[in-house]
Amino acid sequence: MASNYLSNSALKAINRIGDLMIPRNGEFPSFSEVGGIAYIDDLVSYAPPADIKDLNLLLTILAFMPNFVLRWLLNRMENAMESSGPLAPIFRMLDVGLRGLIFSCYYTEKIPASYTGKKPLDIIGFDLTRVED
């Protein structure tokens, strides 16, 4: 797994945070098991360069944080909509940014062939038909 935009540390952080957000549970595979992060460049390459730089820096820092710190961060993010104070907008933006990346790599049609389990989109029953002439 490699990215032209994100460092190895940043990718490692996404997998760790992804597994905290979406752990293995019943028929749901964990975030890292699915491996959708392999296609993360398809998403990141369209973001403004300054945002990619900031994301890389943030994720690289998070990669070195222990799990209890990441859990605290996720908790702050999840409750940020109801929070006030000067840091609340930052947590809200982090929440949408990180969940956006992680859900986009999980509820996706783009999954590496190495993953042979049931796909998350199939588990939730999402099935769109496109009739193209």
Partner: protein, 463 residues
């Protein structure tokens, strides 16, 4: 030297470019996004967000409580919306007249422009047998508790429903060219006929030289310059206002950036025992059409969201998140769209980045809460076991920032669509909306663009 340069290709720019091109004007169309078509539109939800929207998917207000969806592609918003085309009512126009002093804001005055647009596009009003289960439950419950509802009218030509096509797929661009976007409805054939369009070109500065206008832009990152006798700004509330702000027009136009509104939308999901499959078929066919709700300042829309968006709308993660997503096919959804106060302001910081102040006022909050309560009643009345009200607010209808009015101290654009004090700079997109109409804005954007087109052709501005 072009007669006209049109900046932006959404419902406004697409219409004006089409009309001026057909009239034989020497025009250039500039668009920040790429040209895509039914073969090249994204086929996944994640790719749609990344490729078709500014900011890689979503932009925020300064408080990060509201997210804005703003497209960057030939066709603009009309590529990704549901192309729901409603005329405004007297309530909307009377409020516009009161705020702007513009006396032609009436249904009678705009009727011929509405007619022209409606005649040019394929329109379809839904019927009972086109409702999916989500819509059936919504309308059954509305009937029981006395909320009036109606069928929606959509711009579409052939959605192949009888062959099982699911219209949710066209949120990333219609793969059938059925949806009447400004690309499918106007520009596709014009481009084939030789319309001069330059894509991936973002205008960074407007220099007014008197009888001509110079535009500085970045084309795939490289600086380019264009010159025209006239320009038409059609970049939408954010795009048009940003171009004027970063070009220094705020000094002459103190109202520039003000009066921003967005019809904030809040979705609530209902969990049922039965399988609903709300993403199948026509996924948006009905909405509240209740005069009481109209007076109260909100409406209810029967909608649904694809998986990533649905996952985003629930704030929680872990097992709670998985429990909700496991029930995805047994969910229905209704959203309340608030007719919000135009208290927002669009600004540009010293790095040239957009910043949006969008206070959610006490009146906005009251309307949202009342709408949510009604939604909960509708859902539980029809048998929902649980109702999940998303805390997130999304702004899809970006309006104001360069509003029209008679007073140059309180508005940016005069009643003839000219930027106050500039005879050859025109605006006719959603940025001129004086306040939130509480009705889908697309058709009226096109009607206003049609009015400006007719005005320019009649006045023979360089044609």
């Amino acid at each position: 030297m072009y007669d006209y340069i049109i900046i932006g290709t959404g419902p406004s720019g697409g219409n004006i470019a089409h009309n001026l091109f057909k009239a034989g004007a020497n025009i250039l169309v500039l668009e920040a996004g790429k040209l895509m078509n039914k073969k090249t539109f994204p086929r996944t939800e994640a790719d749609t967000s990344a490729r078709l929207y500014w900011g890689g998917g979503i932009e925020f207000d300064t408080d990060a409580k509201m997210g804005f969806l703003r497209t960057r592609v030939v066709g603009g918003t009309s590529i990704v919306n549901q192309c729901l085309l409603d005329r405004f009512d007297d309530i909307a126009f009377n409020d516009w007249k009161a705020e702007s002093g513009v006396n032609w804001f009436t249904n009678e005055q705009l009727a011929k422009h509405y007619d022209t647009v409606e005649h040019a596009l394929a329109l379809h009003t839904f019927t009972a047998n086109e409702m999916n289960r989500n819509a059936q439950l919504f309308t059954q419950s509305c009937d029981k508790i006395g909320v009036k509802w109606g069928y929606l009218r959509k711009g579409q030509s052939d959605c192949a429903q009888e062959r099982g096509n699911d219209c949710m797929a066209c949120l990333g661009g219609c793969h059938r060219d059925s949806k009447q976007s400004s690309y499918a409805g106007y520009l596709r054939d014009d481009i084939a006929a030789g319309l001069n369009i330059q894509t991936e070109t973002e205008v960074t500065q407007i220099v007014h030289n008197g009888d001509t206008v110079t535009l500085h832009a970045l084309q795939q990152g490289k600086p380019v310059t264009f010159q025209a006798k006239n320009i038409v700004l059609a970049g939408g509330a954010f795009g048009t206002t940003k171009m004027l702000l970063q070009s220094g027009f705020k000094k002459q136009l103190p109202a520039l950036g003000k009066n921003f509104s967005t019809h904030p939308q809040f979705m609530s999901f209902g969990l049922f025992n039965e399988e609903i499959h709300a993403c199948k078929g026509y996924f948006q066919t009905v909405a509240s059409k209740d005069p009481i709700l109209r007076q109260k300042g909100y409406k209810l829309e029967n909608v649904f969201a694809p998986p990533i968006s649905a996952a985003m709308l629930f704030s929680r993660t872990g097992a709670y998140h998985q429990e909700i997503m496991r029930n995805y096919t047994r969910m229905t959804c209704i959203e309340v769209a608030v007719r919000d106060e135009n208290a927002g302001e669009i600004k540009v910081d010293n790095k040239g980045k957009l910043t949006i102040d969008k206070p959610f006022t006490a009146q906005d909050r009251r309307r949202r809460d009342e709408g949510r309560e009604l939604i909960a009643n509708i859902l539980t009345n029809e048998g929902a076991k649980k109702v999940y009200a998303s805390p997130f607010s999304v702004g899809l209808h970006l309006m104001g920032g360069s509003v029209m009015g008679t007073n140059s101290a309180k508005s940016v654009v005069d009643p003839e669509f000219r930027v106050h004090g500039y005879k050859n700079m025109f605006v006719a997109d959603s940025s001129i909306y004086p306040n939130a109409p509480g009705i889908n804005p697309s058709l009226t954007i096109m009607a206003l663009a049609q009015k400006l087109s007719d005005q320019l052709i009649v006045a023979n501005h360089g044609i």
